[in-house]
């Protein structure tokens, strides 16, 4: 059920794993997934989170200075 999830895409693999570390620390559920083909980015991976958590997660990324390209 893809509608239940949101995909956050970061510019680089390094930032993707920086995001993972932050999410793990905060106890927010996530999964590292392969970036969907139609999203243009420099990283082949993306972070999938529950749609319900999106607002918290994006605020968290902004606070931590972990820049992301977008959310799908």
């Amino acid at each position: 059920m893809p509608d239940d999830f949101k995909i956050i895409v970061f510019k680089t693999t390094y930032l993707t794993f920086k995001a993972e570390r932050a999410l793990k620390k905060a106890g927010i559920a996530y999964k590292i997934v392969t970036k969907p083909r139609d999203i243009s980015s420099d990283c082949g991976l993306a972070v999938r989170v529950d749609a319900a958590d999106l607002e918290v997660v994006t605020a968290f990324m902004n606070d931590g200075g972990i820049e992301f390209i977008g959310v799908w």
């Binding site: 693999t13 390094y14 930032l15 794993f17 997934v33 392969t34 420099d42 082949g44 991976l45």
Partner: protein, 385 residues
């Protein structure tokens, strides 16, 4: 065996390093950055963690500007060949390892200018001489933090200050100090830092890195796949990918990360104190042996953990190679002899082309190891009288 060749490669490694390499090689050695399956993600994670661990040890604010390389030589080549162009000038010293001297010589043949500042015979580089050598076309100052032969520590803070006053970036070759002598990248305002993973950072061979400050832009010297921007036929413009073409040494880099974590957990000051105590004991012990020539400064705190010497004797000096062979075969003591890939350093200290015997204690050596080494040298020297 008593291993006193840590300046070439440290041995043994902390247990955590062996375990990390084994674990990653068994469970996470898919290709990092190339796929999204679980094992590839584990490999990515191992690389990420290692980058963070290196950054923590060296106080690097931007871990993604740490470029993993196969060794310090590759890191130095990237820095030197990526920066210096024909017509531009580099200031270096007559104390450098061939990993700096040779790429500079290659570029000089292509039209770059290189000036080697002369340190004292004890290996002391005067920051003023570096400052005085900077010209209007100088684009790089490349210096060793401590010579692999004589060990004298370079006053890097003053050199950076002098170079920055002329807007020239500084490349530090920390092959003999990284992990043993504290290097605060942000505090120093260091531009380029080249380190081997397999010496004082306790990683396996085949690892190293170059840190590139945000103010420095290098031309890549290696081109190929990065797993990112695969649609493009040029290297990506973002770091670390721009300079990390080809599959990384994932298990080795993970081991390097574990080595850095070991240093942080032990405390670099504690490691340094132990090595200084061993060097002091070694220098004092060797100085008490008749017919001995010791190189470098007397203060063990002013040098990396490297002690070079020759047995001069009463008549003529002993060939360092035969001293090394006897230490190995008769006493089970591993040292390095010869000119240590650093002919300029030996010329500076007056031991070229003979070379010298080098003992380099590490964190895992003991005072007993040092005493046995001194006794062995004394025994060999008795035959020289």
């Amino acid at each position: 065996m008593i291993y006193l060749d840590n300046a070439a490669t440290s041995h043994p490694k902390p247990e955590a390093v062996y375990r990390r390499v084994d674990d990653v090689l068994r469970h996470a050695s898919a290709n990092p950055g190339r796929a999204g399956h679980q094992m590839a993600v584990e490999a990515d994670r191992a690389i990420f963690e290692a980058r963070e661990s290196v950054a923590r040890l060296f106080n690097i604010k931007h871990p993604d500007r740490i470029i993993f390389t196969p060794n310090a030589t590759a890191a130095l080549n990237l820095a030197i060949k990526g920066l210096l162009k024909p017509g531009e000038h580099c200031v270096t010293t007559a104390m450098e390892h061939n990993s700096v001297t040779r790429p500079l010589k290659f570029l000089a043949q292509l039209g770059a200018e290189v000036d080697k500042v002369q340190p004292s015979p004890k290996g002391v580089t005067d920051p003023f001489s570096i400052k005085a050598a900077i010209k209007t076309n100088t684009t790089l100052v490349a210096v060793t933090h401590a010579s692999n032969v004589i060990g004298t520590i370079t006053p890097i803070g003053e050199i950076i200050e002098a170079a920055h006053a002329r807007n020239v970036p500084v490349l530090l070759d920390a092959a003999q100090t990284a992990g043993s002598v504290n290097i605060d990248v942000e505090g120093l305002g260091l531009d380029l830092l080249a380190c081997p993973g397999h010496k004082c950072l306790y990683g396996p061979q085949g690892t190293g890195f170059l840190y590139i400050a945000p103010s420095v832009r290098l031309k890549p010297i290696l081109y190929g796949g990065t797993g990112s921007r695969s649609d493009m036929d040029t290297m990506p413009d973002f770091l670390p990918d721009r300079y990390e073409a080809g599959t990384l040494n994932t298990p080795g880099i993970a081991g390097l990360g574990a080595g850095c974590e070991f240093i942080v957990s032990e405390g670099i000051a504690r490691i340094r104190s132990h090595e200084v105590a061993l060097c002091k004991r070694l220098m004092e012990g060797l100085a008490g042996v008749p017919g001995m020539k010791l190189y470098g400064v007397d203060d063990p705190w002013a040098r990396a953990s490297v002690v070079s010497f020759n047995i001069i004797g009463n008549v003529e000096g002993m060939d360092p190679a035969s001293v090394g062979d006897r230490l190995d075969s008769e006493f089970g003591i591993a040292v390095r002899v010869g000119i240590h890939c650093a002919p300029d350093a030996h010329k500076t200290m007056g031991s070229y082309p003979t070379g010298a015997v080098r003992m380099s204690p590490g964190y895992f050596n003991t005072a007993e190891d040092i005493d046995k080494a001194v006794e062995a040298v004394a025994e060999i020297a008795r035959g020289a009288r």
